[in-house]
Amino acid sequence: MTDIAQGSPEIVTEQPAKFAMGKSMKRKEDPRFLQGKGNYIDDINLKGQLYMALVHSPYPHANIRGIDSSEAMKIPGAVAVVTSKELNAYNVGWLPTFHGLDKQMVLADGKVLYQYQEVAAVYAETREAAYDMIELVEVDYEPLEVVNNPFKAMKDDVLLRPDREAKTNHIYNWNVGDQGATDAALATSDHVVKQHVVFPRVHAAPLEPCGCIAEFDVMGRLQFYVTSQAPHVYRTALFLVLGIPEDKIRVISPDLGGGFGNKVPVYPGYVCAIAGALVLQRPVKWIETRTENLTSSFARDYHMDIEIGATKEGKLTALKVNTVADHGAFDAAADPSKYPAGMFGIVSGSYDFPVAYANLDAYFTNKQPGGVAYRCSFRVTEASYLIERAMDIVADELKMDPTELRRKNFIQKEQFPYKSPLNFTYDSGDYEHTMDVALEKIGYKQLLEEQAEKRARGELMGIGISTFTEVTGAGPSKHFDILGIKMFDGAEIRIHPSGSGIIRTGTKSQGQGHETTWAQIVAEELGLDPQNFLVEEGDTDTAPYGLGTYASRSTPVAGGALALAARKIREKARKIAAHVLEVSEHDLEWKDYAFHVMGAPGKTITMKEVAFAAYTNPGDNEPGLEATLYYDPPNMVFPHGTYVAVVDVDRDTGETKVRRFLAVDDAGTIINPMIVEGQIHGGLTEGFAIAFMQEIAYDEAGNNLATNFTDYLIPTSLESPHWETAATCTPSPHHPIGAKSVGESPNVGSPAAFVNAVIDALSPLGVRHIDMPLTREKVWAAIRTAENAVAAD
């Protein structure tokens, strides 16, 4: 195994490389991408396909008095126009939302509820004809008053969803913790720190937009190619919406050009493509425009009020959070059904609060629906950002170093498993160690000295810390389901006579490198060459059922399934090995990646030899060597980390330069350090974008102001910082290989580090908080306001 081709990551880890695990194996999927031979949705074309395009509403809130498609149908190549009337006739006018608390329109039914809502679908022989058609579909709108924020919505002056039984814009209340004890503790605390913090509306914006092709084949079977992070969930959702049994539906998710949560929802365009394919009896292709992509879903939009109690000495006494959530026109958040606010209960973070209480109210507004994650496990980023931002404010009020306040209040490593006051049982962690590694590596003391010198000269230098804890890997079936389906995952491994094999899971990589890491997990368990495993995902005809790849659940759930399925194979292999070696299976020991006869040195058999025997000489054993296993994790996993940002803020322009950024992650056991490092780099860049430049903003009239990449900014290579990484290792005690997760940690943990650094830089001026994104305009304005306030004194 030493000849395995490896990359050269810079990440420093504490974990020794094993046979296949812990090695920076170069990615097996790369050759096709490098040669332009990836197979993305728009690369797939079916014979006789039609092109679909969607008519979108320019109004955020309006009644639809009529839709006239007669002019559109005159375009050469026009085939059909579909509106909610036609969909309702087939009973597919509305879709259930994933967590089952609401339903959403496929095409606007009588009224539109947000700008760019889908109003009609057009079908044509060519893409160009379809786009000509949408210009000519005449929709007669009667504009209605717009509710562009949840605070206006809660007044209930304008009822947005008369279709619902409850005549209010309030969707639900969710709370957790002990309100009475928390209020009592706050009332008697030496200090109570309060802050209003907004996590703005953002969008995952993968570079490949969403799309699909639907075809009913000659056997009447739906072949549905679609950009999906969760193909099996889609198949079940289609069964629920269309009433077609699952044997008549094949969902194929091809190579995905990024996902980050954006490819979790079932979008109206998908339903329209399927409806068109069914009625027109031709394949129908639909590929989103960038504007459609940016206006179809969103993440976050939480307006949070936090109160933290502390003693004079800096010991935390209580945590209280009250949140107003803006869910847009439909409650389409893709959260597990028992968790409407996702994992927001992780808001107590890495700290040992004696009591805590979190309360949340969600509202409808005239904005795009969604509430999917953006590289984050179900509302974990909102929670982590809030507590990490608030810890700095508490430290500032108590005049303590932010690392000291954290050190004083960390959950200690001997407290695990730790029951949090907000009802999670943290599996493991060593927060102080990870922070110490980070402070040492970044040179915290020297940075503080440098900062003191610069402050004396009036220069604005900031150091920002974030010591976050995530909760990922949904999840245990007693708590977690989507559309009623428990959040387990399946794995299937088949070993061929040569000792090579095929691995199938119900997850779906969007760039995470499962074709490599899944092979490494199985290879480690069986002592086989990871190069010789084909990994297949994304086809519901062949993959075992799984809930898909999002919320950092692939390695915690499917990764566990893979390790256990491999162990199941090993147990069967043991029987065959015993037969070949003519000993009892109890005399065999699995050691150093081979079966050894105990007490008989040299009498061994490798898995490769056993694989051959399984097909050539199985004895009385069942021939063949394969296993399928469904893994229901006993608990979530709780990765954590310490991130440090060092920034310089230009006092005259408000421009922030991130001079250094160090991420020290503890993701438990690492499968492939090179891939882990790459995931951290990517997540940090997304966190950087959220902290400094991204927002789906709306104006007073309900116009969406971020509908393309000139308004919704993606960091380029030029402004992205150079990232530094390291990893500590606290294996998960319950996961079969001790793995946690890492893909989302950098996006969860970094926004607070960036903002804390900028506020630290501005703190000599008296600036206490600025809501993201920290654009230079906002920072400049904060500096000027602070300077003017000083001048006025």
Binding site: L34, D42, E208, D255, R290, I680, N708
Partner: protein
């Protein structure tokens, strides 16, 4: 809509088609040329996943150029980089340095990198970041792309390194 005859050399091979004058070069390459390594990502010239090389080493965003504008010109796409099953040093470097994840930006990113090295065979990290700032990547955070371009620059400046890698 009136159609026009368009003919161009893509990767040395003549591709001819009768297309509407508003057909984008990216769609011509993908549909008439059958080469799907050139992607479309943003419709507004921002992301660069559609980058191809025009008449040698000029990178252009093929989603903001009409096919008719490339009539009679030569286009280079990602499909031409590997020759006879051997990866171009840029492809090899992106693989070695984990310069890609989802792969969607990779073809355009590599073509821009090749054009950059043609102009500046020994770029600094800042020059690489500046040279690639028209190509967005959502996955890698650019660190490893910079490393890949540095590796490729080294190999391409010393052909004997490339030859040694063959052994």
């Amino acid at each position: 809509m009136n159609e026009v005859n368009v003919s161009m050399k893509i990767n040395g091979k003549t591709v001819t088609g009768s297309v509407e004058s508003r057909v984008l070069l990216a769609h011509f390459i993908r549909e008439q040329g059958g080469l799907t390594g050139t992607h479309v990502g943003c419709d507004s010239s921002s992301c660069g996943v559609c980058t191809v090389l025009l008449d040698g080493y000029t990178p252009v965003k093929s989603c903001t150029m009409y096919a008719v504008m490339a009539d009679g010109h030569e286009i280079t796409t990602v499909e031409s980089l590997a020759v006879g099953g051997k990866l171009h040093p840029m492809q090899q470097a992106f693989w070695d340095q984990h310069g890609l994840q989802c792969g969607y930006c990779t073809p355009g990113m590599m073509l821009s990198s090749i054009a950059l090295l043609k102009q500046n065979p020994n770029p600094t990290e800042h020059e690489i970041r500046e040279g690639l700032s028209g190509n967005l990547c959502r996955c890698t955070g650019y660190n490893n792309i910079v490393k890949a371009v540095q590796q490729a620059a080294q190999v391409m400046n010393q052909p004997e390194l490339a030859a040694a890698a063959d052994d």
